[in-house]
Symmetry: C2
Subunit: 349 residues, 2 copies
């Protein structure tokens, strides 16, 4: 066989190499740098090619492609959502993504995105809270202690200065797992036995549960004035976490309204209920928190630009680390018109 | 580092392994088997989830995602089109694709698709001609002798019994390359110096040129009664090869009308000009060639189902060949809720 030329290779970041990269950079530093990258892309939001995700639904799950482009770089993420997967010991959500050059259409990098999505989701949450949460917030309630919980806790520690996390999950084993994972991470970790206990003294409430249903993780009387709610788990049609009355009392901030109105907590509200786009708060064209008594709500569903930022960040940090494999993914004959001859010569070589 | 479990691995077919697979199976046998796979998927056409491709356009090219699903398996192709790439020694079109399980959302196989697309395009052309070309066709004109030409010639030899190919390209070097590649393949290969010479005695005319413009590769007076035209090159808005008058004299067969009316030769016609869907000819619900004097035209643009068939065919032929690498692409913690713990343990290991 002939050796492929350099343009034939696409760097691939495996799960193992992504873990190595996280450990190499340090998880809190990586979350902080990711949040900065996402924030700077939100600040130039109008530049991006924005499409709703392309979904293929079945009875038991969904497979989605989430493309975007800033005119120089193109990115997309493949992601599935299959709640019943856990019964077979499989992940509910798996993901991978690709960056490509808009100028040539050639792929630049392929990467696992299960871990990277967990990181970017937490980084986006904490970045939003930096703009919206009350001054001096230091205690966060974490309701839902599944796969996303530790990432949220460390992002809020690194980016928002949270010092205490109060954990609650309907499954005590999830709380136990989360508390154990966080025990040497420089946070005060409190195990709680009810959502009411978890929110005591918290300026920030993060909800991140997994049930695919209209659930009421927080009821209206549990939410006092001035708190910031980081609602992560309500992220697809038919899946919400907050009582509707909380939404009516809150200033609501979203990523991309056409998507959030279908997938977010605000699917419970009228389609013209006022919301603020987070990117406008960041670039100074809309107001963030109006006063110390306002309840702010970041109704997060995850948007393609966050994946784009995350992929570009990883791509920028790969050089010199060796934490990738080169995949021979692009056919690259010496004469672009001679694809067939390349096969013939491979047979002769 | 811990060893990923088996479910974390996704088989990847590199360009080199795709070439080995083609050589292992034999190119004509592979084209024949691919055509059979595509034909059987066309026969169950209504079953498929059909979406127009999701395109991201720039001034100099396009990047597209082409997803489809038959309810059991999901597939998508990434493909770019950048005509100016050849000036830098890059491919105009590169592609890769993925198969996934609809039941779990887990990827089943990642594959290069630059070579595979060339194969499936030729297999689809020849499969259509099997249904539409005049009886006993043995001579094919090949106008446009670029990357697709040899694949077309061998597919028509293997599937339609073509014995002579008559080559013409505005660039004599392309004809020379094509003729050299075909010299030991069991075909009579005639180098021609004009399109008029190429079509002499041909029952099938294949046009496969690359210029992105409204071109007239064939003018009306060049096309006699009874021939089959396999129009491969007119495949995006603003890119056609046939004079409009030819279309008006022909029975026109297409893959997916909503896509072909935008991308195919028939972009030159009224949006309600009658066309026949090829899948209906195959499953017996529409007529193919009406008589020996009819001009039949397969206005081919390439559709996601053909890529799906091709990926599934490759997947079915991989076992036992060793012609793939396992990519550690899916994060697979022992406890699906313990993604963070997996990273921690990777650091300790």
């Amino acid at each position: 066989m002939l050796t492929p030329s350099q343009t034939a290779y696409v760097p691939f970041v495996s799960v193992e190499n992504m873990m190595r990269l996280v450990l190499h950079i340090g998880i809190e530093k990586m979350l902080t740098e990711l949040a900065a990258e996402i924030e700077s892309d939100f600040a130039r939001w109008p530049l991006f090619d924005k499409t709703a995700r392309v979904a293929s639904h079945s009875d038991i799950g969904v497979i989605e492609l989430m493309p975007t482009s800033d005119g120089e770089t193109y990115g997309f993420k493949y992601v599935n959502g299959h709640p019943s997967n856990t019964k077979q010991g499989l992940q509910t959500v798996t993901a991978f993504g690709l960056l490509a050059s808009v100028a040539t259409g050639y792929p630049l990098m392929l990467s696992e995105m299960t871990i990277l999505t967990a990181l970017r989701t937490a980084a986006t949450s904490a970045m939003a809270a930096k703009w919206l949460a009350p001054n001096g917030a230091s205690v966060m309630a974490m309701i839902g202690n599944g796969a996303q919980a530790e990432f949220q806790a460390l992002a809020f520690k690194a980016i928002c200065g949270i010092r205490e996390v109060r954990l609650y999950d309907i499954d005590p084993l999830a709380t136990e797992k989360c508390a154990n994972n966080l025990k040497d991470q420089g946070l005060a970790v409190i195990r709680c036995t009810s959502a009411e206990e978890a929110i005591m003294g918290a300026q920030i409430i993060t909800t991140c549960t997994a049930d695919k249903q209209y659930a009421t993780i927080l009821s209206d009387n549990m939410v006092g004035t001035g708190v910031h709610i980081n609602a992560v788990g309500g992220d697809c049609p038919g899946k919400t976490e907050l009582h509707r009355d909380i939404l009516l009392r809150s200033g609501i901030f979203v990523e991309y309204p056409p998507q959030t109105r279908i997938e977010g907590e605000i699917q419970q509200l009228d389609p013209d209920h006022p919301v603020t786009e987070l990117w406008q708060v960041i670039n100074g064209t809309a107001e963030g928190r109006s006063d110390a008594r306002q309840i702010t709500l970041f109704d997060s569903v995850g948007f393609a630009i966050e994946d784009f930022s995350a992929l570009r960040y990883v791509y920028s940090r790969l050089k010199g680390t060796g934490l990738f494999q080169n995949l021979d993914m692009i056919a690259d004959p010496d004469d672009p018109r001679d694809l067939f001859g390349m096969i013939l010569r491979a047979g002769q070589a």
